[in-house]
């Protein structure tokens, strides 16, 4: 996943803490092997290779994450779509290359979550159309955080925090009895001083943020980022960053992507329908929040 994973636990014994953390890291590595888009041996690559050909037998975790991905797709009216692979691979965020309009148009028909089916009884997954690709980048980190936390709990840790490249899940309380304090990054931060725009205290909750600054480049004055609208194939406009808070990390991760693409107004409405909390910074820099969160999140005063 090439991402920074940080695991923090509270424990009275250094040994049990280390053991639990090691086990959690192993769990995350195991999931990476299953989901890695760029590894030819991953289960996801297997499904991609057999797109339009045959269904593929997969492990429980893969089944689980695909199921969750489809659920989020439905709830976000397709804004989150794990089959975005065929289009996102046209962009090169390292070499800063954006594709021709014709290439995007050609591959757009290969993006449609409805062509992904899973069979829980047979433990299989199937991509109906040849040339389709699943990319779990928008949900795997949150899912990994969930699993890591479960692993820690199974190893008798009662309080901790797992961060998989900014997708965070916190449980229990800190030694001083307070919940975990999470900082939300300012999407247009200019330096260390205004790095964080708000803080929120969490326990037994997950939080993820999708931003247009994470993987992006600017060509001809236009910003290209990795949060593509599955219907157009172009980066979604309307938001600078979206942060979602709810119990499951897989959902905070996937919904953050989906809500970003839906835009601020539709996004807040969807969050309210789902009963999640969220903070959206729209393209003008204005902050929208779900009604109940207003007491729990502290915004930093900007000079």
């Amino acid at each position: 996943m090439d991402t920074l994973v940080t695991i923090t636990v509270v424990s009275s014994s250094k040994d049990s803490a280390e053991k639990a953390i090691d086990t959690a890291f192993s769990e995350i590595e195991k999931l990476e092997k299953l989901f890695d888009f760029f590894s030819p041996d991953s289960e996801i690559s297997l499904i991609n290779k057999n797109a339009g050909i045959s269904e593929v037998k997969v492990s429980q975790d893969t089944l689980d994450i695909l199921d969750k991905a489809l659920y989020v797709s439905e709830k976000t009216e397709g804004a989150f779509d794990a089959t975005i692979g065929a289009v996102i691979t046209l962009y090169d965020f390292y070499k800063k290359v954006n594709p021709e309009d014709s290439s995007i148009k050609k591959n757009l028909s290969l993006v449609n979550y409805r062509y992904l089916t899973i069979d829980r009884n047979k433990s299989t997954a199937f991509l109906k159309k040849r040339g389709m690709y699943i990319d779990l980048g928008g949900i795997s980190k949150g899912y990994a955080a969930d699993n890591a936390v479960e692993t820690l709990k199974r190893n008798r840790i009662h309080s901790g925090l797992v961060s998989v490249a900014g997708d965070i899940k916190a449980f229990g309380l800190k030694p001083d009895g307070k919940p975990w304090k999470i900082g939300i990054r300012n999407p247009r931060a200019k330096g260390q001083e205004d790095d964080i725009m708000a803080t929120i205290e969490l326990t037994d909750m997950a939080i993820s943020t999708s931003g247009d600054y994470e993987r992006s480049f600017i060509n001809d004055g236009k910003r290209y980022h990795h949060l593509l609208n599955p219907r157009t194939g172009y980066p979604a406009e309307g938001c600078q960053s979206v942060s979602i808070i709810t119990k499951e990390g897989a959902f905070t991760d996937a919904f953050a992507t989906g809500i970003f693409i839906l835009g601020p107004e539709k996004g807040i409405k969807t969050l309210e329908k789902m009963g999640f909390d969220g903070v959206i910074v729209d393209s003008q820099g204005k902050v929208h929040t779900t009604p109940h969160i207003r007491g729990k999140v502290e915004f930093k005063r900007s000079s």
């Binding site: 001083d176 999470i182 939300i184 990054r185 993820s208 942060s243």
Partner: protein
Amino acid sequence: MNLKGLLNSTTIADRILLFILILLSLSGIFFIKEVLPKGQIVRIEINGHPVYLLPIEKDRIVSVNGSEGNTIVEIKNHKVRITESPCDNKLCIQQGWIEKGSIVCLPNRVVVIIGTPEDESNKRVDAITG
């Protein structure tokens, strides 16, 4: 070199300047110490990372493991001091009890800071999303 020689080296302006600087800096040192807020949280850091956040209300003795060995920190009667440390100069122990400010044991990389709950929570987050 004698006092007369020293006086010859300096002009009147020199001596006035010296006097003013000494006065200002010494009073600055005392003033800053007084103005520091009395804190409620004792924060113990090793190598710049916080390892303990303790309330100053509860008397206790804590041992922290620095780069050279164990530093013992004691909290009693709303005051804090370092009672033992593996450093050579023992400057940290010589500082005695403090109610505000901080004690530093540089060789062992241990810092004891008395802070308020607000500046504890405002400045440090546990993780950053985004």
